[in-house]
């Protein structure tokens, strides 16, 4: 019975339907717009969590699949499904979208349009994660980039929003063009038994491309998506984009969109072209470690509160790439956990940064201080996020970083430098992260409260609910990692077999 309900389509299209509904409302009914948005986002979040628990781990594989021909002449179909790899990311999107709506409650400038674009973006993100058809994946991918441009350009930080929106869009479009070329190469070089071409990724995975073909097309496909994952040296758009975006968009952006890049690079690049991955990932891991170390050092010297978080995302996403590059069970499970953990953590960070900025109207760290007296909830939430970020045991960061490092040790059998990279990433990444987090916590939340902030208001109930939800997941995963780790383990097993790892 349950199988008949198209759960995935409901999750993907509820936001889109909401976007249309919002456009039908008169723009001045702001409260109604906000309430409807919150309800819709809550429903999506609840459904995605239900889906998480409804997935049968013992059975594994793709579940809740739906398939309808879309353009059969070109081998394009609406083909969606979840496995252990994308399900955590669907949940992540649900959570970040709902909390994003909550912290956007105070937007007064055209909230109707804001939430409309926001929901289109959410649909795009959900769509990418559940797509099993490569064309559909690109379709949703571009669908996510377009509202992002408008959201940043219109509601962003006035100083840099036009520059950042343009930079981000160009970077991501150029990246996706490269990936698309790779995808088309795969499309045209495989002929199904029926004599047609197909975008079906399950079939393409069985296509048996020649090793030379795989090596040739791996780099454009993988790196094109890796731009969105913020892989060094293509990370340049991300801190600017994060900083310029309005709070909820930064949350979605750093929290979910960067995972979109990592996930697509994995789904299209690594899984479809495993020989290419085996050849090039041992070198890409060197870029990843630059991400980790360089991102952390740059975060340390920022004066702008939001840039600190922006660069911390660059640093942490490096760990995701590092995990994938290990090509073994530990590294991949760790990377999967890290995607979820970092998504929640950075959403929390950006939410708190937004709360501080909305009230203080500055983000210059030396001018801030003593915020714990004005917003204790935000301070505690930020500290918990900080502990996650520095990999403190008991929180989700630890249980996701640990398998990544273990994976890197184990990958010593692939290339001798993997253990060295693990050591470098840990020795430089972890203490520097601790240092910049403590610097920010100390300067922004503790110390003297500057007199001009003596009368700023505290945070709202909606803000508190959002923070509580995010913190709940960070601690929950840290204390009981099995709830997600086992599922990801089920999800990555078949793909690792193709890579020859275990």
């Amino acid at each position: 019975m349950l199988e008949q309900i198209p759960f995935i389509s409901i999750i993907v299209f509820t936001p889109l339907v909401t976007a249309v509904l919002l456009m039908l409302l008169p723009p001045e009914r702001k409260t109604a717009i906000r309430v409807i948005s919150a309800i819709a986002a809550f429903i999506t979040m609840a459904l995605s969590i239900c889906l998480f628990f409804a997935y049968n781990q013992a059975q594994g594989g793709y579940q809740f699949t739906e398939r309808t021909d879309w353009i059969p002449q070109l081998g394009i179909s609406y083909f969606v499904g979840v496995d252990g790899l994308n399900l955590p990311l669907v949940v992540l999107t649900g959570i970040v979208a709902f909390t994003g709506v909550l912290v956007s409650w105070g937007i007064e400038d055209r909230p109707r349009e804001f939430f409309t674009f926001f929901f289109i973006l959410v649909t795009g993100v959900f769509g990418v994660f559940v797509s099993l058809d490569m064309f559909l994946l690109f379709f949703f991918y571009e669908l996510a980039v377009f509202p992002m441009y408008l959201l940043i350009g219109i509601w962003g930080w006035p100083v840099t929003r036009e520059y950042a929106a343009m930079k981000l869009t160009l970077y991501l479009l150029v990246g996706s063009v490269f990936s698309l070329v790779g995808a088309l190469a795969m499309y045209f070089s495989y002929t199904t038994p029926q004599g047609t071409h197909t975008f079906d990724m399950l079939e393409l995975a069985r296509a048996g491309f020649s090793p030379d073909f795989q090596r040739l097309w791996f780099l454009p496909t993988f790196l094109g998506f890796a731009v969105l994952a913020g892989l060094w040296p293509f990370h340049n758009w991300s801190p600017d984009g994060h900083v310029a975006a309005p709070t909820a968009v930064s949350m979605l952006h750093a929290g979910v969109l960067m995972k979109l890049g990592a996930y697509s690079a994995l789904r299209v690049g690594v899984i479809l072209l495993p020989e290419g991955a085996k050849t090039f990932l041992p070198f890409i891991v060197m870029l990843a470690v630059v991400n980790v170390v360089y991102g952390a050092f740059i975060a340390m010297i920022q004066r702008d509160f939001k840039y600190v978080i922006g660069f911390s995302s660059v640093s942490h996403m490096g760990l995701v790439s590092l995990g994938f590059a290990t090509m073994n069970h530990y590294g991949w499970v760790g990377a999967g956990l890290q995607m979820f953990s970092h998504g929640i953590m950075t959403a929390l960070f950006f939410a708190v940064v937004g709360m501080v900025y909305d009230r203080a109207h500055i983000r210059d760290i030396p001018q801030l201080g003593g915020m714990v007296r004005k917003m204790p909830w935000a301070a505690v939430a930020f500290i918990i996020g900080g502990l996650v970020s520095m990999g403190m045991p008991g929180f989700s960061g630890f249980v996701s970083e640990l398998p990544i490092f273990i994976g890197a040790w184990r990958a010593g059998s692939i290339a001798a430098w993997y253990p060295v990279i693990a050591v470098v990433a840990a020795l430089f990444g972890i203490p520097v992260t601790a240092a910049y987090i403590m610097r920010v916590v100390g300067r922004v939340f503790f110390g003297e409260l500057p007199p001009q902030f003596a009368h700023i208001p505290g945070i709202t109930v909606q803000d508190k609910i959002a923070l509580a939800i995010l913190v709940f997941f960070l601690i929950g995963l840290g204390v009981y990692p099995r709830i997600m780790a086992d599922l990801i383990g089920v999800g990555v097993r078949p793909f690792l077999a193709a890579l020859g790892g275990a």
Partner: protein, 507 residues
């Protein structure tokens, strides 16, 4: 009752967490309620650790009250806890010291709720380290304990608290990164993080990792653990965070820091380095003993030079913990030797563990006493005191009593453990032991200096109206003094338990 006995260790570790959460739910404004609630909650793990002390069977080998539950199967780490005689003693110390430190903290007026909640969290972290039998779980609690301590110093500390807490955090964290990497490498080689499982595999490993010969791998891993523990103990020259952290921490924070947190480092030597790296530790026992000697002598010498009362006690901790490390080095050195030599190692290790317990008692008492006088005079400069014994006779008695325990007066606890360490070390490292005795002389000198500056001489007219020790403060310090005398006069009740475990470990 069965439930309690079957889950005794889990209860000891997590009842402080429950207390911490409950405190967060109490009304924020009601300070007396918060204080008493924290005190009462901390009595629960205290009672459980005393219960553990009595139900633990010293003559049964191996670990007792073991519990195993899978926690993170992806990397094969489990919640594995269990205790032997050494952990039981440390748990007893933690269980007793925490409520007393909370009693001392009743004078905290700012944000009592957060303070008390953090304090109980800290207890959870420490208890967890003492029961952990899985390297990952060990690391989890080891690292987790840092967070509450950081905030206790950072938020409720003295004038230079931000610098001190930052230094404390970064030092410890830098040490533990190396340990984490070593844990990963070991777990990978052994296929498990279970301490007992690794102890079977790791010391006998003959195949290298990543093209490095196994001796190199083991040596690197040994130094990684050594560094993490050496920073925590602290062993000279890694001690420089300690005087800052101790001096800036609130009184109860210093009590716990000196009383228990330093012991985590020494405990790590016993629980991890001794069983997993016996050959490496043996090979490097001499350099470690020399570092211990430097800690003993230089710590005492630095202590003698201090004008700040609290810094004086802080440096004395460096010196006294050096004694512990000397004992551990002796125990490591005698591996595989003949029976008579091994007996020296056993004696020294007994002394080291007992010294951990003893130092926990008198350093906590001394820090509490510094706090008592600081709260009344708002100065820690030794030159500003003088003649306080006239104004505060009870206080004077307590200070002299605790200082005497610290300088090793026979009849009090410090003498017993120092004697055992020196007795064990003498045949193994004669020269080092001989010079180390100079440190003991210095320790008499600084203790007497403190007593003289604070209590004797003409009474400074500012202090004529100082309040005597209150019943609450006396109640917090008296149990420590009772234990000091109990161990000094009849050490067997404690030593028997320690000795049986240590003998199984080294003999």
């Amino acid at each position: 009752m069965d439930f309690i006995l079957n889950n005794l260790l889990t209860l000891i570790v997590f009842t402080p967490l429950v207390g911490s959460v409950l405190i967060m739910l109490l009304p924020r404004e009601n300070k007396p309620l918060l204080r008493w609630a924290a005190f009462v909650f901390s009595l629960v793990p205290a009672a459980l650790s005393i219960l553990l002390w009595f139900v633990y069977q010293p003559d049964v080998g191996g670990f007792q009250f073991e519990v195993y539950a899978p926690w993170f199967p992806t990397i094969n780490a489990g919640y594995h806890v269990g205790v032997d005689g050494i952990s039981v003693a440390m748990i007893l110390l933690t269980g007793i010291l925490t409520p007393l430190a909370i009693l001392i903290s009743f004078s905290i007026e700012e944000r009592v709720q957060a303070y008390m909640a953090l304090f109980l969290l800290l207890e959870m972290g420490m208890m967890g380290v003492f029961v952990a039998l899985d390297l990952i779980i060990f690391f989890v609690f080891w690292e987790f304990g840092l967070v509450p301590m950081y905030f206790l110093i950072n938020q409720w500390g003295g004038a230079d608290r931000h610098y001190a807490s930052f230094k404390f955090f970064i030092y410890t964290m830098a040490g533990s990164v190396g340990m984490l990497l070593a844990i990963q490498a070991m777990g990978l080689t052994a296929g498990t993080f279970d301490l007992l499982g690794i102890a079977q595999v790791w010391p006998n490993l003959t195949v290298g990792l990543f093209g490095l010969p196994i001796t190199t791998v083991k040596t690197i891993a040994f130094w990684a653990f050594f560094l993490a523990f050496a920073i925590k103990v602290p062993i000279w020259p890694f001690h420089t965070w300690l005087p800052d952290a101790h001096t800036e921490a609130p009184t109860a924070g210093s009590m716990i820091l000196a009383g228990i947190l330093l012991k985590l480092g020494a405990y790590g030597f016993l629980r991890i380095i001794q069983p997993l790296f016996p050959h490496e530790f043996q090979a490097f026992a001499l350099p470690v003993a020399i570092l211990a000697l430097l800690a003993i002598v230089l710590g005492a010498y630095a202590s003698l030079g201090q004008r700040d009362f609290k810094k004086l006690i802080a440096y004395s901790s460096v010196s006294h913990m050096g004694m512990v490390v000397l004992g551990l080095a002796v125990a490591a050195r005698v591996l595989g030797a003949d029976e008579a030599t091994r007996l020296n190692g056993i004696i020294a290790a007994n002394g080291a563990v007992l010294q951990m317990f003893n130092h926990g008692l008198y350093s906590a008492a001394l820090f509490a006493l510094v706090g008592v006088v600081y709260e009344r005079t708002h100065t820690r400069n030794l030159d500003d005191y003088g003649g306080l014994w006239v104004a505060l006779p009870v206080y004077g008695g307590m200070l002299i009593f605790s200082s005497m325990a610290s300088l090793g007066l026979p009849g009090l606890n410090g003498f017993v453990s120092e004697f055992l360490v020196v007795r064990g070390a003498w045949p193994v490292f004669p020269a080092i032991t001989f010079i180390g005795l100079l440190g003991l002389l210095l320790s008499a000198a600084y203790s007497l200096k403190a007593i003289q500056k604070v209590l004797h001489g003409p009474l400074n007219p500012h202090w004529t109206h100082l309040k005597e020790v209150t019943w609450r403060e006396a109640l917090a310090i008296a149990p420590l003094m009772l234990l000091m005398i109990a161990i000094g006069v009849w050490p067997r009740w404690l030593l028997d338990v320690i000795n049986l475990t240590v003998t199984r470990m080294i003999g």
